[in-house]
């Protein structure tokens, strides 16, 4: 073996196998790359950072982090307790109402069982509910129903309709039609078709989605307080306003703990029903 044979062979390197690129068309690939680069330059250019202010803030950030060791559960325990309880009750009631209301909307939004006018109406309600962030909807409901957890509860129930309605409707559209057909062939009415042909096929996933939505509703209930719709967010906001970072840290830890508990519970429920 000579050293010449070991030296770099340009021809062999050119013929070496390469993995296929993600975007197959060459010009599209480079247009996307170029566009992304251009955007990055323009986008980053439009971000104004006040570094002097940021440097001042870092000291406050350090104090915020220090507040986690140890967090202050005691000073405002009554407010924290009240806020958490409010968030949890909002979560429970809004999930129950949302689920009950989402079923008719889901049935209406499934093209294989609903006539066109009903389909369009249900789809547009679902689309509106999904488009706007919960906080924006909460602002409108607070303006209508006044401050307090009721406005937050209605917001979350409305958001639940959009979420569950869409996913359940897609599930109903994806069912095995032969089972529904078999039930219909026995002369079943529309409601009997629902109960015996469709419900058994979608129920496990529906329960799983409900558990997942419960989890989301709790997380969202933690921010609705910012616009006066009740819940722990209000307590958190005022503790941050007063620079009582120990209390904020305690609230954040409680939120994380409850979210973790919800997540384990919903994972367990989903495994149990599927």
């Amino acid at each position: 073996m000579t050293t010449a044979a070991l030296s770099f062979d340009a021809r062999a390197a050119a013929r070496a196998w390469r993995p296929p690129p993600l975007i197959e068309s060459v010009w599209l690939r480079y247009t996307v790359y170029l566009g992304a680069l251009l955007y990055l330059v323009v986008g980053l250019g439009s971000v104004e950072v006040n570094w002097v202010r940021a440097a001042e803030g870092l000291e406050r950030g350090a104090r915020f982090l220090a507040a986690f060791f140890p967090p202050d559960f005691v000073t405002h325990w009554f407010d924290i307790q009240e806020g958490i309880l409010e968030s949890l009750t909002m979560t429970v009631v809004s999930t129950v109402f949302g689920v009950i209301l989402s079923v008719p909307f889901a049935l209406g939004a499934a093209r294989n069982i609903a006539p066109l006018p009903i389909y369009l109406f249900c789809r547009s309600v679902i689309a509106i509910s999904r488009t706007f962030q919960e906080v924006i909807i909460a602002i409108l409901f607070v303006a209508m129903f006044g401050f307090g957890p009721l406005a937050g509860m209605i917001t979350l129930a409305f958001a639940t309709i959009g979420f569950l309605g869409k996913l359940l409707a897609e599930d109903i559209e994806d069912i095995d039609p032969s089972q529904a057909e078999a039930v219909r062939a026995t002369g079943a009415s529309w409601f009997q078709l629902l109960a015996w042909g469709i419900q058994p096929q979608v129920l496990p996933r529906f329960i799983g989605l409900t558990a997942y939505r419960f989890d989301i509703n709790f997380r969202e209930s933690a921010v609705l307080g910012l616009v006066g719709a009740g819940g722990i967010g209000d307590t958190l906001n005022s503790s941050l306003d007063r620079y009582e970072f120990g209390t904020s840290a305690a609230i954040l830890l409680i939120i994380i703990a409850i979210v973790l508990a919800c997540e384990y519970a919903s994972g367990w429920i989903r495994r149990a029903v599927q």
Binding site: S46, A54, V92, T131, F132, G148, L226
Partner: protein, 272 residues
């Protein structure tokens, strides 16, 4: 299926046993009772006079917000551009942090299951549990109001989302391909690049675009706590009760979200 023998000797098939029936009913009873108790708690803190007034208030609101102030749109293009930037740059930031975190969290690629994996999982969970608006609230205190806090807030919240879905994708890869690459004598980095990355690249791109779509929605409200974007205008318009401006902003948000959802659906469709 349990069978119950009646007194007259007739056998009756039931879906559940008597104990199962009772347990089911008890479960429902508990659920209904919990809901009622919770609703009562909410009801105690509600001023019902305001609620009965709601239809009139809603009509009033609608009256004042129609028609939208169309010429106000000229002042909204810049904030909307900021909103899209917050979402995009925030997603980018999240991707840069979430991708390595996901590799540290997946049980088949983590360098240490005892030490590194729990830390990576904690990062993912902590990021996911805190809403981006709360992240923004904290970051505005630290960095001052503006887009920068918004980008960081979106980024911090998205790390958990992208990280979780990505590490689940990594755990579901086909191990035989990885083994084949390793059998050629590839180093650890080469196994990563040739054995693992090609398998998760489509999922990764899909997850990122999906999160970007969600982030556009989230970025529209960050301004409420001063973290930049169109929420600043929304907050100001609501504060001054200029509902015809609010409806204009909402229309613009609706249009943007529909476009972003369409883009995201197209991209995901093209990839998968």
């Amino acid at each position: 299926m349990p069978v119950i023998t009646k007194a007259n000797g007739a056998r009756l098939w039931m879906r559940r046993s008597t104990a199962g029936d009772l347990a089911t009913w008890f479960g429902w009873l508990l659920g209904v009772a919990l809901t009622v108790v919770c609703f009562q708690f909410i009801s105690e803190q509600t001023i019902w006079a305001f609620v009965w007034d709601a239809p009139r208030q809603a009509g009033d609101l609608l009256d004042r917000s129609v028609p939208p102030r169309w010429d106000y749109a000229n002042e909204l293009w810049k904030p909307m551009w900021d909103t899209i930037n917050i979402a995009t740059l925030g997603t980018l930031l999240a991707v840069l942090i979430a991708a390595p975190t996901a590799f540290l969290a997946a049980h088949n690629t983590t360098p240490s299951r005892v030490l590194v994996r729990p830390i990576a999982l904690f990062v993912i969970v902590a990021s996911r549990s805190v809403n981006s608006l709360i992240w923004a609230l904290i970051l505005v205190i630290i960095f001052g109001p503006g887009m920068f806090a918004g980008i960081l807030a979106i980024g911090l919240r998205s790390i958990g989302f992208i990280g979780k879905l990505l590490y689940e994708a990594i755990e579901e890869i086909d191990p035989t391909q990885v083994e084949a690459v390793r059998a050629t004598g590839a180093s650890g980095a080469q196994v990563l690049v040739w054995g693992i990355v090609p398998q998760i690249a489509p999922a990764f791109a899909g997850i990122t675009v999906f999160r970007w779509d969600i982030n556009i929605r989230e970025a529209t409200v960050l301004g409420l706590v001063g973290a930049g974007g169109i929420g600043v205008q929304l907050e100001a318009s609501i504060g001054r009760l200029e509902w015809e401006q609010v409806s204009m902003i909402l229309l613009l948000i609706l249009a943007t979200v529909i476009v972003s959802e369409w883009v995201s659906a197209r991209v995901r469709h093209a990839i998968i």
